[in-house]
């Protein structure tokens, strides 16, 4: 098996020549200093408003069961105890080993500063822009991009937005690379040579096309080796839960491949969290996509997983009470999930406000007890060395950092 691993690494590194092979750990023992930090930060936007109360169930709260009579929680719902108070939804069980290894955790009762309107689009804009609200105009860039702006001299490949979706969180003046795994490019040798001919006198088009061909060839090489990799993964008990198919797995695989090289930041989104009806079933799709994604990242990152922080953020939570169609509606407070060897998992962070009648926000939603932006802010502070005033003013305007939550 080690021989296979090395061969796979070597082939991936070799295929990437001219693009990022120089940073492959196999080709050069020392990675190039692409950024002044070695940590990998992955920001996953969970679009549609994930129900934090169902994913990380506060089953120790006496009010929970009455709020969710058919959306069964705790033992009745087959959930897995985490710490005696919180339990993990059964669809997220593939992440239990990571919890036990201290590589998966959550921050609960969090939200952006967005309140009351509960629109997905506005909620996502506020989450990705990292702003307190949208009333002042100026929706131009995302908080990850503003973080890049304060670090001079970064190459575009340091940050990658992945997938077809536009990622506001990485949009802005700092240049970031972008790739969608379905941007396939299969050219015959003849067509490729002729493409060089037609672009010969236009350096902008020539260089971009060369890079596109290089990335696409690397990807197709990986596809060709998928069977081999699947064999290897099947031997790893950790990976047996991974359904290795679907766009989200391709995205996670691509992200991991970049992050093993020069890339330090990757961002993409996972859709499908808007569980208004039959949540027991509808949550399964998002759960599978997210657990596959995290496990694929871990497996494909190898030793780099140890210096990786994955933050999974959603625009808002969902109502504490289930609705008439066995689902939940748009709410306020929710949960942020996190994973990676660089973070201190195995814990549910945050101050729990309770689910009693008087505890709920507007009598209906989980009360947010902390600005969710504080968690990525502390991660960037502790792992990337970003100064507190920069975080509170430039990256997350209006944020009060507060006490260090101990996520790192």
């Amino acid at each position: 098996m080690p021989a296979q691993l090395d061969r796979r690494r070597f082939l991936i590194g070799g295929a990437a020549l001219g693009c990022s092979a120089a940073a492959s750990p196999f080709v050069t023992p020392v990675a190039l200093a692409a950024a002044p930090w070695d940590t990998r930060l992955v920001v996953v936007i969970l679009r549609g408003a994930m129900d934090g109360i169902d994913v990380i169930q506060p089953y120790g709260d006496p009010a929970l069961a009455a709020l969710r009579p058919t959306l069964l929680t705790g033992e009745a719902g087959g959930a897995h105890d985490l710490d005696g108070f919180f339990a993990l939804h059964r669809h997220f069980a593939p992440l239990l080993p990571l919890w036990q290894a201290g590589e998966f955790g959550a921050a609960h009762a969090v939200s952006t500063p967005y309140r009351d309107k509960r629109s997905h689009f506005d909620g996502q804009d506020i989450l990705e822009a990292g702003l307190p609200d949208l009333t002042g105009g100026g929706l131009r860039d995302g908080w990850l991009n503003r973080m890049l702006q304060v670090v001079p001299g970064l190459e575009p490949e340091v940050a990658f937005a992945i997938g077809r979706e536009q990622m506001l969180v990485l949009t802005g003046e700092a240049s970031a690379a972008r790739w969608s795994p379905d941007a396939e490019l299969r050219l015959s040798a003849n067509a490729r040579a002729l493409l060089n001919v037609v672009h010969h006198d236009d350096p902008l088009f020539r260089d971009a096309s060369d890079d596109a061909v290089a990335i696409a060839e690397q990807l197709s090489m990986e596809t060709a080796m998928a069977a081999e990799a699947a064999d290897r993964m099947a031997d790893d008990p950790m990976m047996q839960a991974v359904q290795r198919s679907g766009e989200h797995v391709e995205i996670a695989q691509f992200a991991a491949d970049r992050l093993r090289g020069d890339t330090r930041i990757a961002s993409f989104s996972i859709n499908g969290w808007d569980t208004h009806a039959r949540q027991q079933n509808t949550l399964q799709r998002g759960a599978r996509a997210l657990t596959d994604t995290i496990l694929t990242l871990k497996a494909a990152l190898g030793p780099v997983w140890g210096k990786t922080a994955v933050l999974c953020l959603t625009e808002f939570g969902r109502t504490a009470r289930e609705n008439g169609s066995a689902g939940t509606d748009h709410g306020t407070g929710g949960a942020m999930l996190f994973a990676g060897g660089a973070l201190r998992g195995g814990q549910v962070l945050g101050q729990w406000p309770g689910l009693g009648e008087g505890d709920l926000y507007a009598g209906r939603d989980l009360m947010p007890t902390r600005d969710v932006r504080a968690y990525p802010a502390w991660v960037m502070h502790d792992l990337l060395g970003i100064a507190p005033d920069v975080l509170e003013q430039a990256i997350f305007p209006g944020l009060e950092l507060g006490a260090n939550p101990g996520i790192v």
Binding site: L134, R164, L185, V198, A212
Partner: protein
């Protein structure tokens, strides 16, 4: 450097066609603009007021669900709302097809390009999934008819459109001393005021300050919209008293939309607005660094014509730099795809009869890969102008793949690449492209190489 019909089609229009003649002169370009909107008549898109399903339809459906007396009635009402959503999804596809057909088969490509330019200037995004099909009708109603008229009319039409009002959350904005605020003060929202000053009129370098933004936001209170009534002026929400914007005072007595219109007309007539618009137009059509005397002349013509836009277009079209042969700008993905359909002469029926799935596969998804998700720029400042924003590895992968693969799925038989290179690029294509078109292994590769070439990607 003087007028050239080939350049006119490539730089100012939607590209060359083997079956449609390019304009013969600047006078003809201006005559076409002054004449009837033939493409809109041939390939209609409803206005916001006429669109089906309308926001009112959705509102009625939701009300029916909420007021259903029993489960059966509620289930039936849900089916009706699902039907509306399906109709909305179909409408998006129908409008994409109409826009592509206009670009591919209309005579006046300049009008199509101007419409996209001004729609981008007044970018809106749908505020929920049920509003995705409303962007094209918004453009059809507020933007397109004013592309050939006065800027202040376009500005007023946009600011009074429900799409813009809801996008910038203007409907929530309340004067601090308004009657509505006495009961339920949702606060002043400066969003629309700031964007009108920064993006739509004076520009980010314009002579306004935070006080102007706040006063203008107070003046705009009362401009509101909802699903039932569309856009309207609600005096209870309006801040009482006069507001001073850029040194001029508006209102004072009765609250009225007329005060807002007065201010918008004055903003449109501001010299900073003239320069901002002239520069933006020249950057879009000509070059990242347009000549200073051209901007001066365009701004002057705009002001002399009381914001009449064709006066500004005419100055641009009669300026020598408009006809320099070097192709400096990169086509945005929508323009690339539209001009490829035109160069390939994809028949009207193929576009009209394309199924939803085909439009998604062959147009919508590829546009996203190229970096231009249909009608969904990230922010209100619209799509980027810089070539480097478009010519990225992923963007090129998307363009090359489309060029090589999609034409053969649109046409029963592809043209001979050795002829197509002249259809697409005109009588004097670069030798390298002529060579590549003839040296390709397959016809589809040959067509693809022509379409993927920098010579076709630029304008």
């Amino acid at each position: 450097m003087s007028f050239d019909p080939i350049l006119a089609a490539i730089r100012f229009g939607t590209g060359l066609s083997p079956v449609i003649l390019p304009p013969a002169s600047v006078d003809e370009m201006l005559d076409w603009l002054a004449g009837p909107d033939e493409a809109a008549q041939r390939f209609p898109i409803p206005t916001y007021a006429d669109v089906y399903p309308s926001p009112r339809d959705f509102r009625a459906a939701t009300l029916a669900i909420n007021s259903a007396p029993d489960d059966a009635a509620e289930a039936a009402a849900r089916v009706l709302r699902d039907d509306l959503r399906a109709a909305g999804r179909e409408a998006v596809i129908a409008f994409i097809k109409a826009e592509m057909a206009r670009a591919a088969h209309g005579r006046d490509g300049f009008r199509e390009r101007l419409t996209r330019f001004w729609a981008d200037h007044f970018t809106v995004r749908p505020v929920n999934g049920g509003a995705r099909h409303l962007v094209s009708p918004y453009i059809e109603e507020a933007i397109r008819p004013n592309v050939t008229g006065r800027f202040y009319d376009m500005l007023i039409a946009a600011v009074e459109s429900p799409m813009l009002i809801l996008y910038f959350n203007q409907h929530q904005s309340m004067g601090p001393n308004s009657k509505a605020a006495e009961h339920n003060d949702r606060g002043l929202n400066e969003n629309l005021a700031r964007e009108v000053l920064e993006l739509h009129t004076l520009g980010v370098g314009g002579r306004y300050d935070q006080t102007d933004v706040r006063e203008f936001a107070e003046l705009l209170t009362g401009v509101t919209a909802n699903a039932r009534s569309g856009a309207y002026f609600r005096a209870q929400q309006a801040e009482p008293g006069a507001e001073t914007v850029l040194g001029r005072t508006y209102g004072g007595a009765e609250e009225s939309i007329e005060h807002v219109r007065h201010a918008l007309r004055d903003l449109a007539r501001h010299p900073d607005t003239a320069r901002h618009l002239a520069h933006k137009l020249a950057v879009h059509f000509l070059s990242a660094r347009p000549e200073a005397d051209l901007i001066d002349a365009m701004a002057r013509a705009y002001l002399d014509g009381d914001t009449h836009l064709p006066a500004m277009y005419e100055v641009m079209l009669r300026h020598a730099s408009a006809w320099q042969p070097q192709l400096e700008k990169v086509k945005q993905p929508v323009d690339f795809v539209a001009s490829a359909l035109r160069a390939l002469a994809v028949p009207e029926g193929v576009i009209r009869d394309a199924s939803m799935q085909r439009v998604r596969q062959l147009i919508q998804r590829p546009l996203s890969v190229m970096g231009q998700t249909w009608q969904a720029p990230v922010g209100p400042d619209g799509w980027p102008e810089a070539d480097e924003a478009w010519v990225t590895p992923q963007g090129m992968a998307g363009r090359i793949t489309w060029a090589m693969r999609v034409p053969e799925r649109l046409l029963e038989s592809l043209p001979d690449p050795r002829e197509f290179v002249f259809h697409a690029l005109g009588p004097n294509p670069p030798e390298a492209v002529v060579f590549a078109a003839g040296a390709a292994e397959t016809v589809s590769d040959g067509i693809g190489l022509v379409l993927a070439s920098a010579a076709f990607q630029r304008r």
